[in-house]
């Protein structure tokens, strides 16, 4: 290996360590500063459980809804031709590119106490879920879109010749073929939703035990220098999120049976 490559690789690994590995090691150490019991009591504190529970509820609801909405949107983008399609395609990418805080304050202004349409969703799980749906729609759409684009639909035509109705064809042929990518996209959406902060913090109002999300709770712990508790709850959140993502992966693999 040339010395240049060696130095470059060393630099890359150092870079990665500084930015990712070391901070994570610090997290794990800090989480157990008070021992396992300290870790456990921080995670199971009432406020913590509530925040985590609410986070998972809204994340699941938002991603599930966007799973269906994403499929429908991708369908209309790929299998149709109409004026405004380009604009629709561009709008889908907006949440990817837009800073979360901009989404957050706008949604707060649009659906909050100053709402021009007299809709007050602040301090409700509905508002939170709405914000999550804003941020996660691109994930499901963009996951399914490429698969739809390369689908030849001859299998669907074959099913029609065998007597199947359009709904049956969708259920037995199209949906199973889209399942792996749809699940993958929903998984990404879910992961994003769990950790979301900027777009949800304004509309949620952060009421402890009511509309405080896990990320806000951790932030409040950090701001009050309760690093151990913050680390503990963060670690717990990460572990549960990873476990759920692993589940999504397994499901996705299961459904891609026919592609192997």
């Amino acid at each position: 290996m040339s010395p240049v490559k060696g130095v470059a690789r060393g630099a890359a690994v150092t870079f990665l360590s500084l930015v990712v590995l070391i901070p994570f090691a610090a997290l794990i150490t800090n989480a157990f500063n008070g021992g396992v019991s300290g870790f456990w009591s921080a995670v199971t504190a009432k406020e913590s459980l509530h925040a985590i529970g609410l986070t998972f509820f809204c994340a699941t609801l938002g991603s599930a809804l966007n799973s269906a909405a994403g499929l429908a949107t991708a369908w209309v983008l790929v299998r149709d031709r109409f004026w405004g399609q380009g604009l629709l395609n561009a709008l889908i990418d907006l949440p990817f590119a837009l800073p979360t805080v901009v989404a957050g304050v706008t949604l707060y202004a649009l659906y909050g106490p100053l709402s021009p349409i007299h809709l007050s969703l602040t301090g409700t799980w509905i508002g939170i879920t709405l914000a999550i749906m804003f941020v996660t729609l691109p994930f499901t759409v963009r996951a399914v879109q490429p698969v739809l684009e390369t689908m030849t639909f001859t299998a669907q035509a074959a099913a029609a010749t065998l007597g199947a109705s359009p709904i049956r064809i969708f259920k037995t042929i199209t949906l199973p073929a889209l399942a792996p990518s749809l699940l993958a996209g929903t998984g990404l959406a879910f992961a994003r939703a769990i950790g979301e902060y900027g777009s949800v913090v304004f509309i949620s109002n952060n009421l402890p035990y009511k509309t405080e999300l896990a990320s806000s709770y951790i932030f409040s712990l950090t701001s009050s220098s309760q690093n151990t508790a913050a680390s503990a709850v963060s670690l717990a959140l990460l572990v549960v999120a990873m476990a759920l993502l692993g589940l999504f992966s397994v499901l996705s693999y299961h459904f891609s049976r026919g592609n192997r």
């Binding site: 890359a12 500084l18 800073p99 979360t100 990320s215």
Partner: protein
């Protein structure tokens, strides 16, 4: 081309229009609702201007560093796979799945005043937390995989045949790298760079924790917007939002161009 049922089309357009289009429209509507005079003043707000400059300075350092890291690691992972690279591949993806607040927390734990390296760095005169370097590191962290994720699949797909051919024609490794390899990943890298830029100037949670949100000193534009809304300076917040929304739209157009160029290259190959 089969047409999808009209109801589906209408439903989707309504959903996306209300969910995404409406807020976007609202930002600009609010910004221009008080006339150009007031708008101009708001754009010259000292705090916001300082914030914009800081955001730009952060991007100026964070994005190139990430591109270097991204392209280099991608080449390593694809062209010289080993056990290390499999681990590397997984590690790089981690930042994307983590809450930005947790990102801020872990950086603080490692480099904060009471953190592992915090005191070491402080003794060298480097203050990571509540300062510019910390913001840069946080920005790099949250955008770490964005370039690699675009470049890696492309490198895999393109394969080594072009590079091998160049070698048979007598080209040396550096020439091959610059004239063949880099050329093949240009638009994928451009796409990744654009995503990185968007992420860096748009980051909120991680920077919030790490910077201390000190107005005029460590307050980026996103933090500035949040602070304005917290202090009920809604209009000022909207102006800042409009600036960022506008840059998002520009970024989206750049993304779209990069994506189209990629597709053309694809068709040419296929």
């Amino acid at each position: 081309m089969k047409r999808s049922p009209l109801t589906l089309r209408v439903a989707v357009l309504t959903y996306v229009g209300l969910l995404i289009g409406l807020p976007l429209f609202f930002v600009f509507q609010q910004t221009f609702s008080r006339g150009f005079g007031v708008l101009w003043q708001a754009l010259n707000d000292q705090q916001m201007d300082a914030a914009m400059i800081l955001s730009a300075k952060v991007a100026l350092v964070a994005v190139p560093l990430n591109v270097l890291f991204g392209v280099g690691t991608s080449l390593w992972i694809v062209r010289s796979p080993s056990r290390i690279t499999t681990v590397l591949d997984r590690l790089i993806d981690i930042p994307l799945a983590i809450s930005p607040i947790i990102v801020g927390l872990v950086l603080m734990l490692a480099y904060g005043q009471n953190g592992w390296f915090g005191q070491t760095f402080a003794s060298w005169g480097w203050n990571i937390m509540f300062s510019y370097p910390g913001i840069v590191i946080a920005s790099i962290f949250v955008s770490l995989p964005l370039v690699s994720r675009q470049v890696i699949p492309l490198l895999r797909e393109v394969g080594t045949h072009a590079e091998e051919t160049a070698a048979t024609l007598g080209a040396g490794p550096w020439r091959i790298f610059f004239t063949i390899t880099l050329r093949s990943i240009t638009w994928a890298t451009a796409y990744g760079v654009t995503l990185t830029l968007a992420r860096v100037i748009g980051e909120y949670g991680a920077v919030l924790v790490v910077s201390g949100n000190i107005a005029l000193v460590t307050q980026t534009l996103t933090l500035n917007i949040g602070a304005n809304f917290d202090n009920f300076n809604n209009y000022q917040g909207f102006v800042g939002s409009a600036v960022l929304a506008l840059s998002s739209i520009i970024i989206l157009s750049m993304l779209s161009i990069a994506r189209n160029r990629e597709r053309k290259r694809h068709e040419y190959l296929a």
